[in-house]
């Protein structure tokens, strides 16, 4: 985003009479500002940065301008099909992606080699646990595994969502009954708390993406399962002390590999309340075009090319050579399927998220309770039962069981 802001001065020079005003916000604040602005038709912004959760929901509300009839030179077919799928609602594309990520496993090749261990190309969570046990050396400041523990639907629940999926669990059954008090959730959450408690860094409930990135870059983690986008930072010797020692593997699976790796997309969209539709459209097409991606690569190094959005990025040999994480990212992004995220059938789209407005309430609450359990406040059984009841209440209140037939048909 910062790079886009830097490069957009060129865009301004090419388009006299056009001035871009940027508002840069931290992720939570961004979400609050945008949600309140768009739901009240505030019209403060002409272009918005939104994620894979908001795009289809807001599109279905007709809060966003549909991006139909894009010019041929934009090469829509070059975008990852499942990334496009996440930004589409009712057959219309509502946002264009500027980067996308899957979750993958990062590990320290030097530590593995020193112990004579190898990381499987597609590990299971049980294997991760055994490896973490072998590599955990807290007295030397290296912890077996780092994972997100900070409460939040975009923090710990993103990881835990994929972990539950890997154990064969799901958020809802086709009648929208929550499935949190079921064996897969119990196994997954108990496993997660046990794993982090035994082989994680101290105070894991404080660690989100940024904290773990800092820990891994400082050489404190033997393994880390998180967003593929971290690869760019970890292999950069200016930002990482372990730049040459990072290995990459697919996100761990267990009972199934379905939904065991998440898919998140940051994208640009035009709110329906925008008064500069045409200019906004020109800009977001420029900022996500092939030419722009090339420009970033030229200016900041090929490995910095915005990842995960265009197939052509991964066809370029110089990118594949410069970015050691590219292959795993590519394989993961090709494999994820937000339309069929779990082992058992579900009525929703999205792997680590459920594309309904109530999901933020539901996952915020569960995330907070699980983070509490992680610090030893409450037993897993009790926490999951409480969550099950609370989620059922939320869904009942939102009217899901009054006309469940219509809901199961795919209405959001």
């Amino acid at each position: 985003m910062v790079r886009m802001q830097a490069l957009s001065s060129e865009y301004e020079r090419a388009h006299p009479g056009l001035r871009l005003n940027w508002v840069i916000l931290e992720e939570n604040t961004l979400r609050q500002r945008l949600t309140t602005d768009i739901s009240t038709h505030g019209g403060q912004f002409d272009v918005m940065t939104i994620g894979a959760y908001e795009a289809p929901l807001w599109g279905a509300q007709q809060w966003l301008q549909p991006l139909d009839g894009l010019p041929a030179d934009y090469e829509l077919s070059d975008l990852f099909p499942n990334v496009r799928e996440q930004l589409t609602a009712g057959g219309h594309l509502y946002a264009v992606p500027f980067y996308a990520e899957a979750s993958i496993t990062f590990y320290r090749k030097d530590l593995f080699a020193a112990r004579g261990l190898t990381m499987p190309e597609r590990p299971t969570w049980q294997q991760i646990r055994e490896l973490a046990a072998a590599l955990h050396q807290p007295d030397r400041g290296v912890y077996g595994i780092c994972l997100r523990g900070k409460a939040g639907w975009g923090e710990n629940m993103a990881l835990l969502g994929t972990l539950v999926n890997a154990y064969g669990g799901r958020w809802f059954d086709p009648d929208w009954r929550p499935q949190i008090d079921t064996p897969p959730w119990h196994e997954a959450v108990s496993f997660y708390i046990d794993l982090l408690g035994r082989y994680g860094p101290p105070g894991p409930s404080d660690n989100g993406f940024n904290e773990n990135l800092a820990l891994f870059a400082a050489g404190r983690c033997a393994m880390w399962v998180d967003a593929s986008v971290a690869g760019g930072t970890l292999v950069d010797p200016k930002e990482s002390t372990v730049a040459a020692k990072v290995g990459f593997a697919r996100a761990p699976q267990q009972v199934t590999d379905r939904g065991s790796s998440w898919l998140w997309v940051w994208s640009l969209a035009i709110p329906a309340s925008s008064r500069q539709t045409q200019a906004a459209r020109d800009f977001i097409l420029w900022a996500t075009s092939r030419a722009y991606l090339r420009k970033v690569g030229e200016r900041y190094g090929v490995a910095s090319t915005p990842p995960g959005t265009r197939l052509s990025t991964y066809e370029a040999p110089e990118y594949m050579a410069a970015a050691p994480f590219a292959k795993v990212t590519f394989d993961s992004l090709r494999a994820v399927d937000p339309a069929h995220p779990t082992l058992l059938p579900v009525p929703y789209k999205g792997i680590q998220l459920v594309s309904i407005p109530e999901f933020q309430a539901v996952a915020t609450l569960v995330g907070r309770m699980v983070a509490g359990a992680l610090t030893g406040r409450g037993q897993v059984d009790h926490v999951l039962r409480t969550c099950q009841n609370a989620v059922e209440r939320t869904m009942k209140r939102a009217g899901y069981y009054r006309n469940s037939a219509a809901r199961a048909a795919g209405e959001p």
């Binding site: 609050q32 949600t35 309140t36 739901s39 929901l57 509300q61 409460a151 101290p202 105070g203 409930s205 404080d206 407005p357 109530e358 933020q360 309430a361 915020t364 609450l365 907070r368 309770m369 983070a371 509490g372 359990a373 992680l374 610090t375 406040r377 409450g378 409480t386 969550c387 009841n389 609370a390 209440r393 209140r397 939102a398 009217g399």
Partner: protein
């Protein structure tokens, strides 16, 4: 000036005051009415088309929210502990600095200064400079004595928040108590000393009764502000871990801005208003009684 002319002059003044009164009333009533209205609606900000009248369901929802009773308990614990700490230490410290000693002015100024630091800044300073388990000052002290540093906000979250808030409000108590002590009768104290009264007896029978009213003021004012503590929690623990530091205002915040549930948040806001009023009535009763009892008793 005759009585009739005075009445004639007072009337227009009163009339002139009316617009202000009306404005103030509107100022209060409009938001309150809107909150009451929204508290009867199912209204998710992400899904405005689905909003509908639901009666008292939002209140039932808020009361049965898993964190509700924890948040009430946390609010009571937070307010109670901070009040106790600020009153006890406020009295002790202000008695100490009441005696003349070199540098008294500077010491008093330093004692009062934390009160002028913004809550967010204070919370950040405590979180990162003092209580951080790796780089914080307390961790450094612990390591200097060979002990394991405490991870304050993870292991003792509510206590940590209480300490931060108490640190902010202690200066307020000191400010009030020091001012009150200056109005104390020195001659009475000297007379008591001549009669052979020890320091403790003077403190118990002269200073404390003299401070009765200021203590009541401190308790009342602080209680009103402490019921609304938010910034310190938001910056340090974000209500967690789990719901260990979620108080009622923070719970309302999570409903409104993390879950975008306007209905439940409005209901929660009203619940918070009622709770605050209960506490206020209770405090006024209690303090009023103790004040009348004290002034009625022979000293």
């Amino acid at each position: 000036m005759s009585a009739s002319s005075r009445r004639a002059r007072v009337q227009p003044e009163r009339l002139l005051g009316q617009p202000a009164v009306v404005l103030l009333l509107l100022w209060m009533i409009v938001p309150l009415a809107m909150t009451v209205y929204f508290s009867t609606q199912y209204f998710n900000l992400l899904y405005p088309k689905k909003s509908s009248f639901v009666g008292l369901e939002n209140f039932a929802y808020f009361f049965t929210y898993p964190s509700f009773w924890t948040s009430v308990l946390n609010t009571v614990l937070l307010v109670g502990s901070v009040l106790a700490i600020t009153v006890v230490f406020g009295v002790l410290i202000s008695v100490l600095v009441d005696e003349h000693f070199p540098g008294q002015g500077i010491v008093r100024m330093l004692l009062v200064s934390p009160f002028f630091i913004m809550p967010t800044v204070a919370a950040l300073a405590w979180k990162n400079l003092l209580m951080n388990p790796v780089s914080g000052f307390f961790a450094w002290i612990a390591r200097a004595f060979g002990a394991t540093p405490v991870n304050w906000f993870a292991d003792w979250p509510l206590l940590s928040v209480i300490l931060v808030v108490a640190w902010e409000w202690l200066p307020f108590a000191i400010l009030i108590f020091v001012t009150a002590l200056q109005s104390m009768d020195r001659e009475q104290k000297e007379a008591a000393q001549m009669d052979g009264a020890r320091a403790w007896a003077i403190f118990r029978y002269l200073t404390l009764p003299h401070l009765g009213r200021p203590i009541a003021v401190v308790v009342m004012v602080e209680a009103i502000f402490l019921l609304n503590v938010f910034a310190e929690i938001f910056v340090t623990t974000n209500g967690g871990p789990g719901d260990a530091t979620t108080n009622v205002p923070f719970l309302v915040y999570t409903q409104a801005l993390l879950e975008f549930d306007v209905g439940a948040a409005s209901a929660g806001g009203l619940v918070a208003v009622v709770l605050a009023n209960i506490v206020a009535v209770f405090l006024i009763r209690l303090i009023g009684q103790s004040l009348t009892a004290r002034s009625g008793a022979p000293s």
